[in-house]
Symmetry: C2
Subunit: 405 residues, 2 copies
């Protein structure tokens, strides 16, 4: 029998009633003839409530104990969901990350999956049972409980789908799929039926918050087809698979994120290894850098500019000052009042015309572009924060994204 992995987020299992609805869907899917593994997040605000409790007990960092604490969340949701599925006459069994064989490294609160030993899951599937797995959690080789960090349940689902050779990994969320732009900002935003892993990666890392990029990276590496869809309807969502022809310019959509800040190191001596030193130091804080631009100066000095999420500024600034001193850079500029936007589509690289269209549309809307950075499938700009929604709308119009290509 084909194997299907479904992942339900915290909103989808937020109340007993919603758990019943998810159980209905699970039983229906199982009866339609697939071996089914279900990955589940903690109920609604459960994780935040546990974090609040931790903050009341301690204001310091306890990564190991925090993982122990937070993993209680999925334990609750998966046990309840398993009860509800069993009540419908479909045998089900819930497994912790450890029981599911999600083996990780020892980096508490942001562990990476090393391997998936899915024997127990396979055993239970072969007995006809639905296996309900705690998302977000794993176990290290020295038997410590770990968590996978943000987007961890998506990562669990895709990793399991890869290990089990699943036909598809369905990610159930509270939106209908991936759109050409944020529907709350652009009225004519259109749901994408298909997109490639690379396109999804660009959209995910730049603010289309339906799917975490770690999970997309795993899916790309192992060729796992993903289907992002809503747990509140039976509509088809967006399917993410390998890219198609690179010869056609197809602009998939526009991602934007107003919650970023810009940091620029000024007059950095131009010698090998400088960029590596900067971004190794930033990366050690667990911070995901959103964009990097280096403008080569002629005087043996460079400016290195990058963007990070606003909530990561506190972790980044002390490191930047340390690196500045060590490298002998003159100063750094910190600007919280910017936003990032990105036009994403395979084939952009081979089409000079599209870049022109993008800059033209922004110019006509009177929007100043502070920084430009392009890849083979993206054109990314940093603009002033108050301009960004207008910029997205102008681009969506100019590129005619409300129409099917």
């Amino acid at each position: 029998m084909p194997v299907l992995v479904q992942k339900y987020g915290g909103t989808s299992v937020g109340t007993p009633e919603r758990i019943h609805r998810v159980a209905d869907r699970i039983v229906q899917t199982r009866r339609s003839g697939a071996d089914l593994v279900v990955v589940v997040s903690a109920m609604g605000d459960a994780t935040d409530e546990l974090l609040d409790l931790a903050a009341k007990v301690s204001d310091r960092s306890h990564p190991r104990e925090l993982d122990m604490l937070l993993t209680a969340g999925e334990r609750i949701s998966m046990a309840l969901l398993s009860m509800a599925v069993n009540d419908r006459g479909q045998e089900a069994v819930s497994f912790t990350g450890s029981q599911s064989g999600i083996v990780t490294d020892t980096s508490h609160t942001r562990a990476k999956i090393l391997e998936v030993r899915a024997d127990r899951i396979r055993d239970e599937l072969s007995r006809g049972r639905v296996v309900i797995v705690a998302g977000f959690q794993g176990v290290s080789r020295d038997r410590e409980v770990t968590t996978l960090g943000r987007g961890g349940s998506d990562t669990t689902a895709v990793a399991l789908a890869a290990a089990l050779g699943a036909e598809e990994c369905e990610i159930y969320t509270d939106v209908e799929g991936v759109y050409t732009a944020d529907p709350r900002v652009v009225h004519g935003a259109r749901k994408l039926k298909n997109l490639s892993y690379d396109e999804m990666l660009e959209l995910a890392s730049l603010g289309a918050k339906v799917l975490h990029n770690r999970s997309v990276e795993i899916a790309r590496r192992f060729g796992v087809p993903i289907h992002v869809r809503s747990s509140f309807s039976s509509n088809e969502g967006s399917r993410i698979r390998k890219g198609e022809s690179m010869e056609r310019v197809v602009i998939r959509g526009i991602a934007h994120d107003p919650d970023v800040a810009k940091i620029a190191l000024l007059d950095v001596p131009d010698r090998p290894g400088v960029a590596a030193e900067i971004f190794r130091a930033v990366g050690e804080q667990g911070v995901n850098v959103r964009l990097i631009v280096q403008a080569s100066g002629s005087d043996g000095k460079n400016d290195v500019t990058f963007a990070v999420g606003s909530h990561e500024v506190r972790a980044v600034l002390p490191v930047v000052e340390e690196v500045r001193k060590r490298l002998g850079a003159r100063a750094f500029v910190y600007d919280p009042d910017v936003a990032i936007l990105s036009v994403v589509g395979e084939g952009l690289a081979t089409s000079a015309g599209t870049a022109g269209e993008v800059f033209d549309a922004l110019a006509k809307a009177g929007i100043n572009i502070e920084i430009i950075s392009t890849s083979s499938i993206t054109i990314t700009c940093i603009v002033r924060k108050p301009d960004v929604e207008r910029a997205v709308r102008a681009l969506h119009d100019a590129l005619r994204l409300e129409q099917e290509p």
Copy 2:
């Protein structure tokens, strides 16, 4: 270094403030020079809240999933407590039942401990860390999560103390210790400084609810000294250890429990194995029988009378009717309006005088005794429920228990 095990119940860790207080005590104890293992229950009402949630999702029995669900409770309290201890500069680490090596059978919701593999705990102790262990939970040999049923955290604590060869197992609770009678009923009730395992077993199983009898049985088998004391004061509590001389009659106290019911099978054919059949069937419901009396008739028939907790009647009655039919007993009597009381003290068996004193005191107080059953260290009576508090006070007076012996 000597090893000490401390157990804190749900009330003791019910709020962040109380967790801080417990952390203070732990650090203080550790600094006084003992290797310390701390067993902790779920916070306050956490277990009841999880049970409520389960009831909202399902009205059927899901023992495996219920264990998965409930073990989230201790996970939360132990992680928070470990944070608080670490914050005080004392390294601590929290362990689940599985990580602590509490290996059980597979009887979900009432698992029995098969062995304790305490290597990981020993390792952490040898590094100078305080080990904080989730009470109430274990893992079966096929790696399923189990819980130990009622009194499970006490059981965890004593089993660990036995496995680690601890000097003492301190049970912190919301009362000051074990008393000669329930202080809410008898004004002059006196705290017992010392009592034997057997005496504690009789007091525990008959209503002195400070300590579950399973834990006392393990303590007796392995000779673990127990110290029952309050987490809200630093007073000495009650110490439970091996019995002393059997030659002296020392009455330790009077236990009573109004929450019992009496069941009598009438005219049971007198042949071998009858009692076994009755109490095997009752035991299979997980019910703890509080007292058994069989009066031999001369006509080849017996009446078999026993008492169970009021909350267990629902599970017991259908079984009793089944057994009655199978054995060919004439009828059974069910009487919910009784209470049990028990005078407990080593040496009672060799002192006919004391039994006389007990019955005399009850007669003088005008209390009718329905059933009498004695062991080497107890005299147990069943009386009408409304009489029981008066009976306890009369006995406490008559036996002069307010004075040190």
